[in-house]
Symmetry: C2
Subunit: 129 residues, 2 copies
């Protein structure tokens, strides 16, 4: 059994800070769960173009408000506490934080902890070992 808490993860190398967001990675690939699990903070006013070409992601909004724009269709979905979106088609999207948003994020395959978004908004596929 692995037990971790958000405050600890935020104060160590599990916390990754980037432009417009930061993410505390509570579970990573080496935990052997087959997925990774992160608590991500989207800053108020952030507008993030993202495209996870190599990962499926589920995001659940714990607090805050914003929207997600599906760039394949142009459709904009409101995000509020209790909203879940799943990028089952590796959907290219823009995430907007109207307020700060706290999100629970699950990635499959799991993130290793070393990724940063590349110029297309993707995380790279894991390199062969």
């Amino acid at each position: 059994m692995i037990v971790r808490n958000l405050a600890d993860a935020r104060s160590c190398e599990r916390n990754v800070v980037s432009k417009g967001w930061e993410s505390a990675r509570l579970l990573l690939k080496d935990d052997g769960m087959g997925f990774s699990f992160h608590i991500t903070t989207i800053y108020a006013g952030a507008e993030l173009l993202m495209h996870y070409k190599n990962h499926l992601e589920c995001v659940y909004c714990i607090s805050g408000e914003g929207s997600i724009e599906d760039l394949a269709t142009g459709q904009v979905h409101e995000i509020r506490p209790g909203t879940m979106y799943a990028l089952n088609l590796n959907d290219r999207h823009i995430l907007r934080g109207r307020t700060e948003m706290i999100m629970a994020c699950t990635f499959n395959p799991p993130v290793t902890g070393r990724e940063v978004h590349d110029e297309t908004g993707a995380y790279p596929a894991e390199e062969a070992a």
Copy 2:
């Protein structure tokens, strides 16, 4: 892109009510994400013996307080908002809700939506199709 919200899931067949808990299954196997994702309510005072022999589960506490007892070691871990536990060893455990707890749960392999806990506290492995 799949977008769902908790209130809708709680008011339809995605919500499963059992003794001491209920769970709104926002993502299931047929969504094709490779995991399932549920928002589960543990009722105040619940004491639940569970053993997912066929699934790995990650649980993140959004609200409420309680504890988890690892039956392999006897160790009791406090659960508060921000606590995450992962049953990476299919850990047999007792979950106790001191107050009502709202938990974000990810299962690998994904739950199909038809499972109930059997007499051992497990979900069955999926039957061959």
